[in-house]
Amino acid sequence: MFAYLVRRIAYGFVTVLGVLMLLFVLFFAIADPDDIARKAVGERASAEVYEQWKKNHGYDKPLIVNTDHGAAEFARYTDTLFFDHYRRMLTFDFGRSDADDSPIAGRILAGAVPSLSLTVPLFVIGLGVGVFFALLVAFFRDTYVDRSVLVLCMLAMSIASLIYIIGGQYLIGMLLRWFPISGFDPDPTVAYRFLALPVLIGVVSGFGADVRLYRTVFLEETNRDYVRTARAKGCGDIRVMTAHVLRNALIPILTNVVLAIPFLFTGALLLESFFGIPGLGSLTVEAIHGNDFSTLRTMVYIGALLFILGQILTDVSYTLADPRVRLR
């Protein structure tokens, strides 16, 4: 188990290196640092400012080979954007935003809490609702409940999330006035008011896909032989569903769920921007609008890191949920 974990993490690390390579190609080779600098300091800035800016943001070195150093010198390869990029990303030194010079790490830390306070409830409630409905549907399979929920899921899946948000805000925020239309408060005793609506909308828009997936999983499990064994033992429906089916269905659900964890951090782009939640999703949207490459780069990197971590977690949680999987 331990060895497995170490190996898994080592591989994760290699993947991180790969992701960094990808980012390098994207943000340094394809997007020209000179362009970014020009854009940031403005047209009329003096060469001095321009160079200073590039220096501050770490864009001032040659891409891969630094010819300032002699052919033999090690620095020829270390004093470059490529090396710097790796060094800084791996040490979590994200530098400053291209758009407004603020330190990215700080903004990400600041954005994490609001993002989490939106996505964690969204995730938990979404999971709960999804599993509950899926159980219900699996229980009532081949009845009108099953069919109507299935149709509902299909419909729900086919609607763009933008429409959910606009519609939900208008209906619940404006017409029914149950919750504030948008806003946020870091104080948890009141934050729930702000989060209720986005969470509700998020749950509804994710509902379709989730329920359908879980339903398939549950139906698959209810057809297994061990369920029959449990019934033959004299288990009631509810016990069969909860004590036997649910525990087995947990495994495929886990994959789905644990992989969603990075999105908890990177936030929900649309929800955050529409509901004025100052989270990481909002930060990303802003980076896109502001052509803030360094922030976007960092967000992609963090997203990938968390994703890799999530995958490792999935594998580990497999062992916890499923004794058959032995990690070696």
Binding site: R228, A230, K233
Partner: protein, 327 residues
């Protein structure tokens, strides 16, 4: 003897198919006395498991037992029992060992707990007590290191051990009727012998009634008192073990026994039954064995074969026999 413990009368199980419902078990009847071992034999797909599931009221969803079926267990009408009554019955008076021990145990629950669950569903005993009983049971069915095995997971057990766990789960509440659905099919011969021995012992010690389902006449020979042979959802012959194995009357039973290779036949062609069992929807209308029967003649095709008493204890359903016996 007074009343039989179990009586199945005209039990039919149907599944929906393209055109209406197809009976995969068609009006079969048999009964079981207390302490007796009845073997239900037949080739794959002939409806043995479904018949047993009908008794447990566990037929999988689109299928159902038809209203005409009458099942009486210990004087109770099983078909009319409420869900709760049924639940109380299942696993307590009626238990079942399923065909494939590999998939019938819940893979994520420790095997001991699965047995404990079976006990605690029916008896209000503490977990500790149930656990103790489970370990005793494990020892009883010959699971070595019972204490340790209690908390392993099914995938860590070999087939034979899994089957033993299944058996201990089934007999945990000392059921009056044990249905053993192909209890040894998935096992190696040496282990099969051990399991057969175990079942024999249990039956002897606890006086359990056993409905043994198998397609292996050798297993029948080892365990059964009486035998019922099914073909394509229909009962074709019933009789005592000796009768049936020694002098089968129905052409199908004859064919089956003849098809089993053994030393004696070496060098000779095996006595094969022509053709294959058709899928349920294509079962012939009259005698279902018609199209494969070497003795088939014209009434076989259209009319249901009559019931012929072949001896005091044996019956068969066959036109040819009827003709031979002059009816």
């Amino acid at each position: 003897m007074s009343k039989p413990l179990l009586e199945m009368q005209n039990v039919s199980v149907t599944f929906p198919s393209g055109a209406g419902r197809v009976a995969v078990v068609d009006e079969i009847s048999f009964s079981l006395d207390e302490g007796e071992v009845l073997a239900l034999v037949g080739e794959s797909g002939c409806g043995k498991t479904m018949a047993a599931l009908a008794l447990m009221r566990l037929i999988p969803k689109p299928g159902r037992a038809e209203k005409t079926s009458r099942i009486t267990f210990d004087g109770k009408d099983v078909m009319a029992a409420s869900v709760d009554d049924m639940r109380a019955l299942r696993g307590y008076d009626l238990s079942m060992i399923f065909q494939d021990p590999m998939t019938c145990l819940n893979p994520v629950v420790r095997v001991g707990d699965q047995v404990v669950e079976a006990i605690r569903l029916h008896e209000s005993v503490s977990y500790g007590a149930a656990r103790k009983r489970t370990i005793e049971l494990f020892e009883r069915v010959g699971i070595p290191d019972a204490e340790q095995r209690f908390s392993t997971y099914p995938h860590l057990l070999s087939g034979g051990l899994k089957q033993r766990v299944m058996i201990s789960m089934a007999v945990a509440t000392k059921p009056r009727l044990l249905i053993a659905d192909e209890p040894t099919t998935a096992l190696d011969v040496t282990v099969q012998a051990q399991i057969l021995e175990l079942l024999r012992e249990l039956q002897r010690d606890l006086g359990t009634t056993i409905l043994l389902i198998t397609h292996d006449f050798a297993v029948v020979n080892e365990l059964a008192d009486r035998v019922a042979v099914m073909y394509a959802g229909k009962m074709v012959e019933k009789g005592t073990r000796y009768e049936l194995l020694k002098m089968p009357r129905h052409p199908y039973t004859e064919g089956l026994l003849g098809a089993i290779p053994h030393a004696a036949q070496r060098g000779h062609e095996l006595n094969e039954i022509e053709g294959v069992v058709p899928p349920p929807a294509l079962w012939p209308a009259g005698c279902r064995f018609t199209n494969r029967c070497p003795k088939a003649f014209e009434p076989c095709e259209g009319t249901l074969p009559p019931r012929i008493e072949t001896s005091g204890t044996g019956v068969a359903w066959c036109h040819a026999l009827a003709k031979a016996s002059g009816r």
